[in-house]
Structures are given as structure tokens and as C-alpha cells.
């Protein structure tokens, strides 16, 4: 019973009700019928002692009952204990919510949902964009599925063992496993942690401005790490006996903290769903998917309320918890993917393309991008004309590095040529300190951007080409043009073929001279690229 009490986060454990029928009762003399090893014969006995078949001081009842019309009747103590048993609402009582069938149905349905969403996540969701976070999502879903598979196998084996050994099947032996099975606890913790990081990635996807992405990344990672570090402290604190009472408060606090994070996540995504209400019905299944996303986002806060209100799922929350995280992450991801497709279509059809924000202009990003492309193209030309033999990769990389190092805002490089040699000129300590601090800040921002944009941003690698050489050359061209960077992409490349008037005239002249040679000359390669 002690383990049961520690299992619960904030609620008192199941009450220890006393059942008199579990104690020996003196019935006096009488006739015993239907005894084992005696066949149909009856036996007269003087001092008969009766005790119900009990397990852990709780009577075990069979699923058959005597009819009211039967000449026999149960003992009064047995009937009294039965009434007590069925009126206890927790999982050691006789409430139908905690019947073994309901509990197994719960777990298997959660298992099916989790595995189904894992399969969808691995097969259906595209891996081209947001590759890193998607990988994390797949790993988390796989761990959750694996965890539930192992758990269900363990549960069924335990039930079988108990049935063979004691002849009973108890629901509360399953509840024990949630806290006692370390494999389940560890895998569940890992899956939840990964899902929470994926949710941070989803929120980053919702916002388009780089600064907001950075802020969400920092705040989200701090919140997730705090919640999970605090979550793992209480199990270890059990060893410190003197401070056990102080640690008791931490577990419910972190539980509420997780619910608060989940509620914040749901609020942000639902707000975004509301903002995109024009796109709800632009796609066949979009309306249905939006409704489903809305519902699954509210699952975790909803289950918290149901748990607190002690409706049904208390103590089974761990299984529902995993499923809630899987659904609220995978389905939202799928919804966002479809929304992105719709938005891209609209942007491609519009004149302006994707929206550009002021912060993208502030650091001369477009000027830098243009300069980079221009320099790359001119240097390539000069390389080709001047030094056709030496076309090694190292020189190109060097060029790109030189260009990328060139910063129009850099005061030190202002007025200098990038081809000149400069000696180190030391400034004052104040300038040095400011420079160090700013470089440290820039490095942090650089790594944040690398994580945010490389893992959550677009990844333009195409996996279709099998030819390695072609792939390498394509990648080189993309890198040279800056298309490997996040936020820069081509919406569509169209090849426009038309006959000019002059060509028509030439054709007419040619057709006069040559009877059947009237091939049209084409002007090609008109592309529409936006960045």
C-alpha cells in the first residue's frame, strides 16, 4: 500500500477499508455441501469457520451471483462487504471504471492510437522541410510506441501470471506498474521530453520573424528543461529521508507546471488556427483536420480537469499523457504542413511572394545576399576565364568565406579592401571588452540561428537525385547562390517558350528558301525567383 500512496502525485491514496469477511467467522454447526474432493455428498460439521477469499485484505468476488429466487443466500457479512466494495470509487474498490476490462481497453486503445500516429509520422509526413525536428518527432513517437508495446506485454503477462497463481485478475496490479516499472518511467520521460522540444519547434514554425523565433527558442528550451529537471528530482529525493516532506510539494508543482506549458502551447496554436481561418476550407480535408487539431490541443488540459475532478482517469494519467503528447504534436505538425502548402500556393500566385519583415532589411541582409550572389558569379567567371585549370573546391570555399566575412556594417572593414593585409591594431580595454561581449553575443545568436534555422527552418536538400555527381554540383550551385540558406527559396521556375516577330519573319524567309525546314527558335529560361 505504501507504494500506492507514493504513486499518487497529490491525492491521498486509496483508503484502507476493513472487510470483516476477510477474517475468520465462526458459523457454528451445519451441513457443508459441494466441497472439493467430496463430490455431491454433504458433510455435517460442528464448528464451521468461514473466511472469504481475499487478496491484500480486499475480497475477491466472482462474476457469478446467486439469484434472488435461489433458496440459498449469502452470509450477512459478505453482503455487507460487497456493498462497501462497490461504493468505493478508487481503483482498489469495485467501481466499474476500474474494472480490468475498462483498464485494458484504455491501454490498448492508447497503444493503437500511438502506433497509428507513429506510422503516419514515419510514412506520410514529408521529410524535406524541418528535417531535424521531424527526426526528433519520429524518434519520440517511436519511443512512445515501443514503450507502450513493452508495457502492454508486461501487463498481459502479469495478469496471466496472477490468474494462474491466484485465480484472480486485478486492475490495481496494473496501476502498480506505472510507478514500479523503471523501463516505462524512463522511456516515458524521454518521449515526453522530446515531444516538448518538438512542440517548441512547432511554435517556432508558427512565427516568421527571426527575432521572435530566437525568443521562442530560448524561452521554450528554458521552460522545457526546467520542467523536466524538476520532474526527475523527486524520485531521487526519496533517498533523503529527512527532507521527504519538503520534496512532496515538488511533484504536484511540476505536474501543474507541465499542464501550464501544455495550456500555453494550446493557446498559441489555437490563436494561430484562428488567424488562419480563411484557409480552413480551402482544402478538402482541411476543415476536418483543423477541427481535429483543435480538439487534440485541448486534450492535455482537458485530461487534467478530468483527472482533478476524479471523473475517471486518475492514476491512469501516464498512459493518457503519452497519447496526448503524441496526438497534440503529430496532428498539429500535419496541419501545419498542409497549411504551409496552401500558403506557399497563395504566395506563389501573388506578385510579392513571401512577406518580408523590417528586421530582414535592417542588417542589410538583402544587400549582403545580392553582393554574395554577384561576387560568386563574377568570381566564377573570372576563375573560368583566367584560370580554367585550377578549379578546385578549396578556392571556391575560400571565396565564399571571404564574401561571408565581408560585413558592410563592420567598422573595422570600412574603407579597407578585402584584399589588403592589415596588422592588428589594439584598442583600449573598454573597446576590447565591448568587442568581446558583442562577439560572445553574436556567437550565441549565431548558434541559436543555426539550431533554429537548420533544424526548424527549411532544408532544401532534394532526395530524389541518385546521381552523386549531379547532386554535388547542384548543392554547390545552391550554396553559391545562397539557396542553401533558410528563408531563401524559389517558388517556381518556368521555362517560357515563344516565337518573336523577327523569328516569324525569319521563318517565313527560310520557308521560302527551304521548303520543310521551319523549326522555331526559342527564347528560354525566364524564371521567377523570390527571396
Amino acid at each position: 500500500m505504501a507504494s500506492l500512496v507514493s504513486n499518487n502525485l497529490w491525492r491521498h491514496g486509496p483508503g484502507s477499508n476493513t472487510y470483516n469477511s476477510c477474517r475468520p467467522m465462526e458459523l457454528g454447526s451445519g451441513v457443508l455441501v459441494g466441497l472439493p474432493f467430496f463430490g455431491d455428498s454433504a458433510l455435517f460439521a460442528d464448528d464451521i469457520t468461514f473466511r472469504s477469499y481475499c487478496c491484500e485484505t480486499v475480497p475477491v468476488y466472482i462474476s457469478t451471483a446467486l439469484k434472488t429466487t435461489s433458496p440459498y443466500r449469502y452470509l450477512d457479512e459478505v453482503v455487507k462487504d460487497w456493498q462497501t466494495f462497490i461504493h468505493i470509487g478508487d481503483y482498489v474498490g469495485g467501481s466499474s471504471q476500474y474494472a480490468v476490462y475498462a483498464v485494458i481497453l484504455c491501454m490498448t486503445s492508447n497503444f493503437v492510437i500511438t502506433v497509428f500516429l507513429t506510422v503516419i509520422c514515419c510514412i506520410n509526413i514529408s521529410g524535406r522541410a524541418y528535417k531535424r525536428i521531424l527526426q526528433l518527432l519520429r524518434i519520440a513517437s517511436f519511443i512512445a510506441s515501443l514503450n507502450l508495446t513493452i508495457f502492454i506485454i508486461k501487463v498481459l503477462r502479469k495478469l496471466e501470471r496472477e490468474h494462474n497463481k491466484y485465480g484472480i485478475v486485478r486492475a490495481h496490479s496494473i496501476i502498480h506498474l506505472f510507478s514500479d516499472d523503471m523501463a516505462f518511467v524512463v522511456l516515458d520521460f524521454l518521449a515526453t521530453l522530446m515531444f516538448q522540444f518538438c512542440q517548441v519547434g512547432i511554435v517556432i514554425r508558427l512565427f516568421q520573424r527571426a527575432q521572435e523565433k530566437r525568443i521562442i527558442f530560448f524561452v521554450g528550451v528554458v521552460l522545457v528543461m526546467t520542467a523536466n529537471i524538476l520532474w526527475v528530482i523527486p524520485p531521487f529525493s526519496n533517498h533523503a529521508n529527512g527532507h521527504k516532506k519538503n520534496w512532496q510539494i515538488l511533484r504536484p508543482f511540476v505536474y501543474l507546471f507541465r499542464i501550464a506549458i501544455a495550456t500555453s502551447y494550446a493557446s498559441i496554436v489555437i490563436y494561430h488556427i484562428w488567424q488562419k481561418k480563411k484557409l480552413w476550407f480551402k482544402f478538402n480535408q482541411m476543415g476536418l483536420l483543423t477541427l481535429l487539431t483543435f480538439l487534440v490541443l485541448l486534450l492535455l488540459p482537458g485530461f487534467f480537469l478530468a483527472d482533478v475532478a476524479n471523473l475517471w482517469i486518475s492514476d491512469l494519467g501516464d498512459v493518457f499523457n503519452t497519447t496526448c503528447y503524441v496526438t497534440s504534436t503529430v496532428i498539429t505538425w500535419e496541419w501545419l504542413d498542409r497549411l504551409n502548402v496552401l500558403e506557399r500556393k497563395e504566395e506563389a500566385q501573388s506578385i510579392l511572394g513571401r512577406p518580408i519583415f523590417e528586421e530582414e532589411q535592417q542588417d542589410y541582409r538583402f544587400a549582403k545576399y545580392a553582393l554574395r550572389v554577384q561576387n560568386a558569379l563574377t568570381r566564377r567567371e573570372s576563375h573560368e576565364t583566367l584560370n580554367r585549370i585550377d578549379t578546385s573546391n578549396s578556392s571556391e570555399i575560400c571565396d565564399l568565406q571571404t564574401i561571408s566575412r565581408y560585413d558592410p556594417e563592420d567598422q573595422a572593414s570600412e574603407g579597407r579592401s578585402i584584399d589588403q593585409i592589415h596588422f592588428n591594431d589594439k584598442g583600449s580595454y573598454k573597446e576590447l571588452a565591448v568587442k568581446k561581449l558583442s562577439s560572445a553575443r553574436d556567437k550565441i545568436l549565431y548558434f541559436t540561428d543555426q539550431i533554429v534555422q537548420k533544424s526548424v527552418g527549411h532544408n532544401n536538400n532534394s532526395g530524389s537525385s541518385k546521381n552523386k555527381e549531379t547532386k554535388r554540383r547542384k548543392a554547390m550551385v545552391r550554396k553559391r547562390l545562397g539557396l542553401d540558406r533558410p528563408g531563401v527559396y524559389i517558388y517556381s521556375t518556368k521555362e517560357v517558350v515563344f516565337n518573336s516577330d523577327q523569328d516569324d519573319e525569319d521563318e517565313e524567309d527560310d520557308s521560302d528558301n527551304q521548303d520543310e525546314d521551319g523549326g522555331s527558335k526559342t527564347l528560354t529560361s525566364n524564371d521567377t525567383s523570390h527571396c
Binding site: 497529490w10 491525492r11 491521498h12 520573424r209 521572435e212 525568443i215 524561452v219 516532506k245 512532496q248 510539494i249 504536484p252 508543482f253 501543474l256 507546471f257 499542464i259 501550464a260 495550456t263 500555453s264 493557446s267 490563436y271 487534467f304 480537469l305 482533478v308 475532478a309 476524479n310 523590417e358 528586421e359 532589411q361 535592417q362
Partner: protein
């Protein structure tokens, strides 16, 4: 923009008032309680029980209830949700949340009445500060629900309204940060743009149009301070 910061200050003032109510529940005052359940009245700093003579008997004022407390009939304290009594220590988030909300209100007032409201950094700081404020407000409501479930009295339900109000303020502060950032950028751009424009008086254009050809007109560079009205310049070219 001005309207938005006024709404934020108004909402935060209301939220602060809402968050003060749980602090003045029993045993600080005799008439307000976070929850009432079977003649027991629960507050932030203790709990009370109504005796046979209809008089309230309260515990000492401190955060969190004591599990050894007994009521007038000798029963050990029980919470409506069957929670462990030690969980009541989580009620400490109420005063912390009030402190955060008050600070946010002060920041919002500073933005409203000082030129700091035009600073994107100040708005970013305030918007960032609004995030833990929202989380704490939400935690207050969740703690109340956890301890008292549906037996909450109206000061407890006010926390739900406070949470929604802070969420609105949080959203508006982030919108304001965007607006200020765009405005700052536009003002910088327009200043740079105006500096780069060479302006010509309309009279010179008209005269030069009549007397000289267009190539000479381009080489004329006489700077004035006033901007050209577009319709006037249009009329001049038609002539």
C-alpha cells in the same frame, strides 16, 4: 498604438484587483473565501470552521495548511479534492503572481507615460516579462482547481478571468513590439530616403521645361526645403 497601451494598462489594473481578492480571504477577512465545503472556509493564509454558535474559528495566518489541524468537532482537516494537505503550500504562487502582475502594470504605465514606449527594447523587456506573469497566473488557477475543484468560490474563479486578461495583455504587448519595430524602421528609412532625394522648386521646372530640354533639366540641382505637390508637378509636365 496609444489605444492599445491604454487597454493593456486597464486590463492589468483589473487583473491586479482580481489577484488581490484571494489575498484577503479568510482568515484575513471574515467574509471572503477561496472555497467553502461542509462548513469549512478555505483562504490563502489559513482556514476557518463555523462552530455551533455560528462563529468562525480560524487557524493562524500562514501560507499552507497544517495537516495536524483539527476543526471544532475534532476532525482532521480534509480538502474538497481529497488532496494531500501538504499540497496547500502551493498557494504561495498567489502572492508571487500578484507581485509579477503589479510589476508588469508598473512597466506598462511607464510605457504609457514616458517616451520609453517608443523603445523596442523596453517593449521587448515588458513583453518578455509578461510571459512568466501569465504562467504564474495560470498556475494560481490550476492550484486552486487542484485543491478545491468545483467548490471554488468567486474569488477563486476570478483567477480564471485574470489568466485570460493577462493572456490578452501578453498578446497585445507582443503586437506593440512589432508595431514599434516597424515604425522605427520606417522612420529610419524615410529619413534616409528624404536625405537622398534632391528637391526642385516647381517654378524652376516649369521655366526650364519651357526654355530648355529635359536633359538640361536633370543637371539642374537647386535644393529647397519644401516638398513638391504631386498634382502641381503633373500639371507642369502637361504644359
Amino acid at each position: 498604438m496609444v489605444c492599445m497601451i491604454h487597454i493593456v494598462v486597464f486590463l492589468l489594473s483589473i487583473t491586479t484587483v482580481f489577484e488581490i481578492f484571494p489575498l484577503i480571504t479568510v482568515p484575513v477577512t471574515k467574509h471572503l473565501s477561496l472555497s467553502s465545503f461542509r462548513n469549512h472556509y478555505y483562504g490563502l493564509f489559513g482556514w476557518c470552521v463555523r462552530g455551533k454558535d455560528q462563529e468562525l474559528m480560524c487557524t493562524k495566518k500562514k501560507i499552507g495548511y497544517d495537516s495536524t489541524d483539527v476543526d471544532s468537532s475534532g476532525h482532521v482537516l480534509a480538502l474538497p479534492s481529497n488532496s494531500k494537505v501538504v499540497v496547500s503550500n502551493l498557494l504561495v504562487v498567489h502572492p508571487i503572481s500578484l507581485a509579477f502582475t503589479s510589476t508588469l502594470l508598473v512597466l506598462a504605465v511607464i510605457i504609457m507615460v514616458t517616451p520609453l514606449g517608443d523603445s523596442p527594447e523596453m517593449l521587448l523587456l515588458t513583453a518578455l516579462f509578461s510571459l512568466p506573469t501569465f504562467m504564474l497566473c495560470l498556475l494560481c488557477f490550476l492550484v486552486d482547481i487542484l485543491l478545491f475543484i468545483s467548490k471554488l468560490d468567486w474569488p477563486g474563479w476570478l483567477m480564471l478571468a485574470a489568466t485570460i486578461s493577462v493572456a490578452l495583455c501578453c498578446s497585445m504587448l507582443w503586437v506593440m513590439r512589432r508595431v514599434v519595430s516597424v515604425k522605427k524602421y520606417e522612420s529610419q528609412q524615410s529619413t534616409a530616403h528624404v536625405r537622398s532625394i534632391e528637391q526642385y522648386p516647381i517654378s524652376d521646372i516649369c521655366q526650364s521645361k519651357q526654355g530648355t530640354n529635359s536633359s538640361e533639366l536633370e543637371s539642374t540641382a537647386m535644393h529647397t526645403d519644401s516638398l513638391l505637390a504631386p498634382e502641381v508637378s503633373y500639371r507642369g509636365f502637361i504644359d
